[in-house]
Point group: C2
Chain length 275, copies 2
């Protein structure tokens, strides 16, 4: 294997750097079909999940690290662009005060619902009109932990490929599926195969989440941060579950509620062996 | 009751406005012993919890709203300063594109551990070196939901009175207790009364969280976002619990992990009646 060609970029005025930096904006991400991830750990997880960077940018002082080397080699082999740079430019790229050794731009994957194979996981999350990329990333991270397949985004959700979502996912964006669809598309797709649609709701015909029998595959349906699940979506659910709310507030953070429900479903599907 | 004296502020150069705006910085919060909260709903929850603003600032167009009126009256009665202003200045104050009708500055409460009455709640959260104010606020919000008493912050945690923490808490900062202490102070205080210290950990002598018998009062001990619970703190715990991690990631978001454990403990202490 030949050593990969390395490009040096030391100025923020470099056009490649400017393109990478522009990926902070959704419009540029859509135009270039690329998104950014940062940090040796996340980029290494991506590599282990079979995803190599289209562009890899690393701090010169980190080039001796074996994980950096592995990323450089893999990027070169996949004919990605390998860029040697500085911590200062990495800081400017990611906005982090204490930037990691590497950042990378990856091709945005196809997020068609048709690519979701529901049989590959017992649990899936469906999010409607989710606005906060931190919540979305955190939900993906939890999906990884419980063995859920990923998140299906309905209607006007935030962009799963923003730096904030990628960051909060802690690498789970590379190991979980993400799909984007309209509500109608999703409901039609759902009815074409097995699956229980379980909505998280605060009122209406809800049951305490502990009284619900989750069965695989469960599609856990979470609504918008402010307004929850719209009535017509709630109507479409096979069951609606609620979490006990003992205090004065009337809702939980959506990523928190998702996690409590996913762990409950996991416990039911895969209970702790006793004895 | 006389109508309260109302001050008009229409310029960001107004010295009172500048003081309120400075509360975005921790140093200014400490100097003035004040912190900011925003939004009609949160400020009304604060009022219901018996907390009146030292300064109330409202958008003129919102003065007819009955909740705004209630806040104006309560602030005036408590000899706080009532300020009539504009959405533009509220936007400048809170940084929100779509600012609420009101914002308010409240006296920072005493956060001495001595003020925590452990008998008032079956669950408490203890956080060590927690860095993200969004996580802290979310944990307080979950505490409210499960009837936990509040959060005890050890060592170098983020400031619970930052706008970001207050915002994420969705009003729970006003209904839950917050204490700040060193680890030594906390462990001494803990041993002066009943309480089970249950640490969340990833390895070591952990048990699956479903195998642990939570008993009131439980102090759920959560470590730093990056590094988890330090070994000496883990050593001090009565038990260490872990959550199943089925994927490639090795940890959950700390507010998520806290919520799953709190709901589990709540379920054990107050199980769903069947039949």
């Amino acid at each position: 294997m030949r050593p990969p060609l390395v490009h040096d970029i030391t100025s923020a005025a470099n056009p490649v750097f400017k393109t990478l930096k522009s990926l902070a904006d959704k419009k540029a991400r859509r135009e270039h079909r690329l998104f950014l991830a940062e940090g040796l750990r996340v980029c290494t997880e991506a590599l282990e999940a079979g995803r190599t960077p289209a562009y890899l940018i690393y701090a010169e002082d980190a080039q001796g690290h074996p994980l950096t080397r592995a990323l450089i080699d893999a990027t070169g082999e996949a004919r990605g662009m390998v860029i040697r740079s500085t911590r200062d430019l990495l800081h400017r790229l990611t906005g982090k005060d204490n930037p990691g050794a590497v950042a990378a731009a990856y091709a945005i994957p196809d997020t068609s619902l048709a690519l979701i194979d529901r049989g590959t996981a017992p649990l899936w999350v469906v999010a409607e009109n989710l606005k906060d990329p931190g919540n979305l990333g955190t939900m993906l991270r939890t999906c990884d932990a419980v063995g859920a397949g990923g998140v299906i985004l309905l209607d006007q959700c935030c962009d799963p490929f923003s730096l904030e979502a990628v960051r909060a996912s802690m690498g789970a964006l590379f190991t979980r599926k993400v799909a984007q669809a309209s509500g109608d598309e999703f409901l039609a797709w759902l009815s074409s195969g097995p699956g229980q649609l379980v909505g998280a709701a605060l009122d209406g015909r809800t049951v305490d989440y502990r009284a619900h029998a989750f069965s695989a595959p469960t599609f856990l349906f979470m609504g918008n941060e402010q307004s929850g699940l719209p009535a017509d979506y709630a109507q479409a659910c096979d069951a609606l579950v609620r979490l006990p709310m003992l205090g004065t507030a009337d809702s939980l953070n959506v990523a928190v509620a998702t996690a409590v429900l996913l762990y409950r479903a996991l416990d039911q599907m895969d209970p702790l062996a006793t004895g």
